[in-house]
Symmetry: D2
Subunit: 349 residues, 4 copies
């Protein structure tokens, strides 16, 4: 924890507003939960600046670096855990992502054996040989806001919008479980949903004192569903504003943006992830509007969106989204998202 310092631009006597954490190798973990000591403490209302490695631990740098050979069987390191002082089981952790910026001008992707939606996997066992392990390298141009795709077996290249996000953000699971950072579940984790970009607030359940959150797995961009199982993976600099909603539990990961509410369902088969997300959004709508349960079901049915996050990880994710205008200005978590946006703005100015 020695590498975390705090600064407070506003007042000497107040608790510092910004916690700076400089990433070093021991601050990486491959689990959510467990007895691991926090790498830094954060107070509700503080802003954390930290960094994340890519899902290959930075070991895949050229198209000749096969993940199965250079990664030593360890994937998806996350930075953490961070302890949020005062967070208690039954509270909700709010993480507002102020900035998610690529730390490199390149990103890597791959077809990895037994991983992805269009191949046999360990979960969907078949007799086929694995697809050939293949690596792609992308150029990242933050100034132009572009990511350049380059085919491996032809000269085809094309530029895609840069859209940085974090694939993996989570807290210590309930029931003293310890989960691999590869796994998404109700504690968050490897959600791999493109919605987790700067400007959004992620709500997660607090299952243990201090919440013990970690983050990583930056993607310069990813498609919905993350079909081949791997996005444009890159290291990131992350600024996140932290808050705790006391006494308000949250069952599933939720995201709030300036214009929409999103419930993230996690599970298998994919319709159960869909059901989980829509069920949560219907019930959330009920709470925020006072609508009857079936009236909310009807409203979400006509106004909701339903896209895939990932269909490749140990659990799939789908998100159910609704525009906040349709909820007539209802304020989730007592305005946490707006409050955190303002906190973020105060830091930048």
């Amino acid at each position: 924890m020695t590498n975390a310092t705090s600064t407070n631009p506003s007042a000497a006597s107040d608790p510092p507003t910004v916690v700076e954490h400089v990433l070093s190798e021991p601050d990486l973990t491959y689990q959510f939960g467990g007895g691991r000591y926090p790498i830094a403490d954060v107070l509700p209302g503080q802003v954390l600046r930290t960094s994340t490695e890519d899902c290959f631990g930075g070991a895949v740098r050229t198209v000749d670096d096969l993940p199965s050979q250079v990664c030593q069987g360890r994937f998806n390191p996350v930075t953490g855990p961070f302890r949020v002082l005062g967070a208690e089981p039954g509270d909700t952790l709010a993480l507002h992502f102020v900035r998610i910026d690529p730390a490199r001008d390149w990103g890597m992707s791959a077809i990895f054996p037994h991983f992805g939606a269009l191949t046999r996997t360990h979960a969907t066992a078949m007799l086929h040989e694995p697809l050939p392990e293949t690596v792609w390298r992308y150029d990242i141009d933050p100034t132009a806001g572009l990511v350049r795709y380059r085919a491996r077996r032809s000269a085809y290249t094309v530029e895609l919008p840069l859209d940085p996000m974090l694939g993996t953000v989570g807290v210590a699971p309930a029931a003293d479980e310890v989960r691999s950072s590869i796994v998404p579940d109700v504690h968050g984790g490897n959600l791999d949903t493109p919605e987790l970009r700067a400007g959004t607030t992620l709500y997660l359940p607090v299952n243990v004192p201090g919440a013990m959150f970690s983050l990583g797995d930056g993607h310069a961009r990813q498609g919905q569903g993350e079909v081949c199982g791997v996005a444009v993976e890159t290291a990131m600099h992350v600024t996140v504003a932290v808050d705790v909603i006391k006494g308000v539990p949250t069952a599933l990961p939720r995201i709030e943006t300036d214009h929409q509410l999103i419930s993230i369902g996690v599970g298998r088969p994919l319709e159960d992830a869909f059901r989980g997300s829509q069920n949560d959004l219907v019930r959330w709508t009920t709470e925020l509007t006072g609508l009857d349960l079936y009236d909310a079901y009807q409203l979400v049915s006509q106004a909701g969106r339903a896209a895939a996050g990932n269909v490749c990880d140990p659990n799939y994710t789908m998100h159910a989204a609704i525009d906040t205008t349709i909820l007539r200005g209802a304020s989730a978590y007592d305005g946490a998202h707006r409050r955190l946006r303002e906190l973020a703005r105060s830091i930048r100015s």
Copy 2:
């Protein structure tokens, strides 16, 4: 077929450009396929104007009309079949939707027993009692482009964007099957995907001479996933430009818009609908760009979208979408969409 007339504004000797079909009760069918006589013939290059009833056959008009009581057990009438002269098995039928306009200023929705994604169904059998059958009535305001939701158990109302689409468009199935109009499958049918709006072109396989397509199940709008199982159902006036791509087969329903290509996967569990859609989009990308299969897999993984159509019908639907710019101007079906847009424009002028 007596109620179909053809007019050709351009030239007396040419085949008429517009086929007008006036809907009457005998032109409604509840199946795709079978020996039913075509209600009208259309030539490739012609534009068809017709109408559709809503999924309740127009019998549900107030919130007191329970579908289980007033619909006599018949749901989802479609207008058809239309025979496309010259279409042969192995061809692709292209249907470009020029206009889809609500024929009424109201639409109906419902929670129907044993139907919907958040209830036990005949397919997902459980011991729960059914959810209470409930009907909602919406006002449709085409001028303002709005649909007004009105809660049943409170005074809550809210306006949603009008976004008319057809839930059900399909051809006679392969292998001489006859399918209920409730069922979506590779022949199209009850796809219930919000993408099927005016301005798009739907590609379907031709399985029998004449293709024998039918359409109906208009929605003033629907959410992705059609969670409760029923959209804002209303009658529609439909204008559709018809073409046949000779000798080019199509495996799954596909949609082209001005800016994107969409493959529609159909099946259960939902991940199989997802896989079907993404697999088709990867292979379509390969064909259109010359990319290697794995290069296309990689590109779609980073650039694709994946949203649910319906998660309530006998088969679920998901769509895999990609922007055509990413395919660097590749032209699907030899430019059929652009050609049909122009045909549509010539009619309107």
Copy 3:
């Protein structure tokens, strides 16, 4: 229908007890439902003797006959339809299989491209190449009651018990649907469950006047789940006693043996086939014993069996079974199984 004759050993004035049907090529169909004329009429209380071809139409005879080449794209012919005079929608058809005897001393199996549980399929789309199409030939020895397996790539052979059954038995579907004989659903069809052997009674819904049942797809034996998608396929001589339970509807295929009741769930994903079967068995138990719904749920939970029929066809099947002793002598369908057993016995003597 000229090839069906009736004989009655008991009395000249009674309707004949046995209907003999001699199979010829035109009596084979590849669908359930549709307007096809019945190949023979059967009265309730009569016994039908007929024959069935194998799923390859007899075209695969050596390990060098690849189904994709020799079958002309048509699979699973069934013998029928047979019309049951007096059967009306809302009744239940009871088919008691008196004998199912291999008509040949050999049977064939295969790995067929895109078919089977451990390979990508059309429904579970992936990027793998298909598994190599391969054929196995079995010797059938009815006297010893054995089927001899012979490896293709080594000298390994082993004898398995002969256990003849019909893979496909069904009626015309509801709602005027016509389904390929490859498809299992609530109308029966390609159930592919090893329980459908001689000595059992199959109950099916009657959806159209005359029920219009067909049967075929004999298996000298199959494993539960039919993992590779193909059993030991062979032609069969079949003797079936026919009855109709008037005014008693049946929702799903059910089987009664001398010692157990079996409900067959059909659907995807496999847990929905499981749910369908167990839900039906719980409700059947309730009807037969007078137990409360939850008491029946509890009893089936402790006493029931749950095995896979097929996990390869367009719908999967699972069966839920319970010993009749546990239901304390309850009599399903008013003793139809016992009555048909006695009818069968009278014919044999």
Copy 4:
């Protein structure tokens, strides 16, 4: 560990053959994995005698004890972990169940809110109210070998065969994960398969030094699929012979009986549990017989069995079984099952 003693009837200088462990409250755990200290050490070749509590921790004793009220939110305690000296990652742990005897003359079952196959659950979210929590009490008569069911809402009673088994046996998971004892996965855990009875050998992967296995969740009997989510739960006295197969890894839980080999697939949807089990059995068959992969696929397809273990837990289980005669006397794990049977016999004599 003070309550574990060892005795060796054969020789003073040999390591003791039998390890006696007397269960006390602190020996119960609700997780697999984690840093918990072993409650006793066992050597390969030793026999362990211990006891297990029921899944309610013994707190449900009458039909008026509702689990949601009397169990304080903790379910499924297991006895352990036991450390197997010398077991290393990459080895296989063999646990031969010599005896599994009910420790009480009663057992309990229940419908628990949001749990079971025929109800909405946390994984399969819906809008229904939960089924009413209900408890059943069974009499267990070991002498007669019977379990007596007694309906709650009528006078119906019936006797079922006593068939004691353990629902939950597992080791510390791989990748340093810690999993709730409710969860089955490749480390074993809450497999809830009726095959885990006395006379069988369970093979599990060793993921950490000492394997760290735990066991519990005794069932006086359960149906296949454990439909309502709860079996006839009771405390057990367990005798288990322990061995380690050095240097031989195992991917999935496997069971060997005197007559069959069983692979247990774990996952969701249920077809993935099915695929996992059948894929493992095909590959196991290949190893044991020298058959080519596709020849083994074919053989298992005709000779295998496929029944559900549970379709209610966080992961479902299915087992793929084949008679060892069909494998022509092949010996799994170098005869471990036979060796352990003989060890068991030597103890009893």
